[in-house]
């Protein structure tokens, strides 16, 4: 039986504008537009790009114990979050394996004055699994959990020009919002829009949430405003290279049920001083030192490393490539891989097995591209 692929509200727009549609996480999404992924990548770094990411999921958590509950199921300590703050976190299994990575927002509840709720943004490929996990644990707490993915549209608008352009067409002062905070406002004819100064490209920019029925109007409005600057729609291929260069993990590659946050070097998203599901296992890995760790490497001899290629050292396989590609910003062939910790030092030489031939590579510092907001 073939699974019926889902389509976003912008499916027809993508097709009409030459988007090459491919299956991704149960959805039919544009992998590129006619300009091609390299140009889309550079446009996002230099101007701004607009991404249809409505396949991603959103979950609201409300109730008296919302904070306690969210804190129990995610790695980051949400008690230290201010209102309107957004933070990266993970859901873990008790053994430390990763269920998903997510963004947690702490927001004022429009439904009830003075109350706070948590807004969780999760991956498309993990939506059903995540929601089931959240629901299962929610029964022990005084909370209500709502999967609002279907009625919520999500776009990403990323790049140095994004703040100025978005500021012109929305009611809120979006340029004043610090990194990792959200602002609420309106766009077009009073369409409510939540704008998180977040994203997965290493650039300044926003992730936008608004009623799904307005998808085409908002999409067109942003593209029109950015037209004179050269803003482009961006497909999945460039989305992948844009997140890869700053070494942001992608679930299924740098994270999985078999990969924990310590191995993936994501401890900035883990608050060990509080309780959460998976804490003991993660703490044990941290204290003992992980057996394998994520490294970045650069090909010494020119060739394209790709996910699943074996990583070799002195003729023995020591790991696999999690993501690899030609990096448009650096013009280098780069990759990430999980290898034993004792072989992970910067400068160490490894081989990547490419079409059954070992090709020389060297461990280099991560990230390959420092996000602009961390410089």
């Amino acid at each position: 039986m073939t699974e019926q692929l889902k389509r976003t509200h912008l499916y027809q727009w993508h097709v009409d504008h030459g988007g090459r549609m491919v299956p991704f996480a149960g959805w039919e999404m544009p992998v590129q537009y006619p300009t091609g992924p390299i140009q889309e990548h550079h446009t996002t770094r230099r101007v701004a790009g607009l991404f249809d990411i409505d396949h991603m999921g959103q979950v609201e958590v409300r109730g008296l114990q919302a904070e306690t509950f969210v804190n129990h199921i995610v790695t980051y300590d949400v008690r230290q979050m201010a209102l309107y703050e957004a933070h990266y976190a993970l859901f873990c299994y008790p053994d430390g394996g990763t269920i998903d990575d997510l963004f947690v927002y702490k927001l004022p509840d429009p439904a009830e004055k003075g109350k706070v709720y948590y807004f969780l943004v999760i991956n498309a490929s993990n939506r059903e699994k995540d929601v089931a996990w959240i629901q299962a644990h929610a029964t022990e707490f005084d909370v209500t959990v709502r999967d609002i993915s279907d009625e919520t549209y999500m776009l990403a608008f990323q790049g140095p020009k994004a703040p100025e352009l978005l500021d012109r067409i929305t009611s809120a002062d979006v340029q004043q919002a610090p990194r990792f905070t959200a602002v609420q406002g309106t766009i077009l004819e009073n369409i409510p829009i939540l704008m998180g100064r977040t994203g997965y490209t290493g650039e300044d920019g926003y992730e936008l949430f608004f009623p799904a029925d307005e998808a085409l109007k908002v999409w067109n409005k942003i593209l029109k405003e950015g037209e004179s600057e050269g803003v482009l729609p961006i497909g999945l291929a460039a989305r992948d290279s844009l997140r890869f260069e700053p070494c942001m993990p992608l679930y299924g590659h740098e994270l999985s049920a078999d990969i924990n946050a310590v191995e993936a070097r994501l401890t900035f998203a883990v608050s060990f001083e509080k309780e959460f599901i998976g804490r003991d296992a993660l703490l044990k890995t941290k204290l003992e030192g992980p057996r394998r760790v994520l490294v970045g490497f650069e090909m010494v001899d020119k060739s394209v490393p790709r996910a699943e290629y074996p990583v070799m050292h002195e003729g023995e396989q020591i790991g696999v490539v999690s993501t690899g590609m030609f990096s448009p910003t650096t013009s280098k062939y780069l990759g990430m891989a999980f290898i034993p910790r004792e072989l992970a030092a910067i400068g160490n030489e490894i081989d990547i097995l490419i079409r059954n031939k070992p090709v020389k590579a060297r461990i280099v510092k991560r990230p390959f591209y420092t996000p602009v907001y961390r410089r």
């Binding site: 020119k302 394209v304 790709r306 590609m325």
Partner: protein, 128 residues
């Protein structure tokens, strides 16, 4: 879609342009468009190598995919395009010109009859 009349084509989207007993080989405009942005080219044969029809002569990789390029005919490799690996995007820009990959001296020119002419190649693409 550019399909020059002076080339012959394989079903796998390679072209060969024959002059005398030698032929230049590359991939078609359709192939480069399907692959999209090409980021890596490796010629896997060397001048002097003897190759058979269907042998791999190059590997082309785009942002998302890798593809082998196969010899449309048998013969001896007499030249390879050394500059192509330094500028892989040439394959996107000029697939029938600067992006030639190898030149082969044919050992069995009758193999050309097994290839498609421009009209047949166009017809094959139209079926997709």
């Amino acid at each position: 879609m550019n399909i020059p009349a002076d080339c012959k084509y394989t079903k796998n989207d390679e072209w060969i342009k024959v002059e005398g007993n030698a032929g230049k080989v590359g991939i078609t405009d359709y192939a480069q468009e399907q692959l999209s942005d090409i980021v890596f080219v490796e010629i896997v044969v060397a001048a002097g190598d003897t190759v058979k029809q269907g042998d791999a002569c190059a590997t082309v990789e785009s942002v998302k995919a890798a593809a082998d390029v196969y010899m449309p005919v048998s013969g001896k490799i007499v030249a390879i395009n050394d500059s192509l690996p330094e500028a892989p995007d040439t394959v996107n820009k000029d697939p029938y010109g600067a992006a030639w990959m190898v030149t082969v001296e044919m050992s069995n020119p009758a193999e050309l009859d097994s290839l498609l002419d421009a009209a047949s190649y166009q017809a094959k693409l139209d079926q997709k």
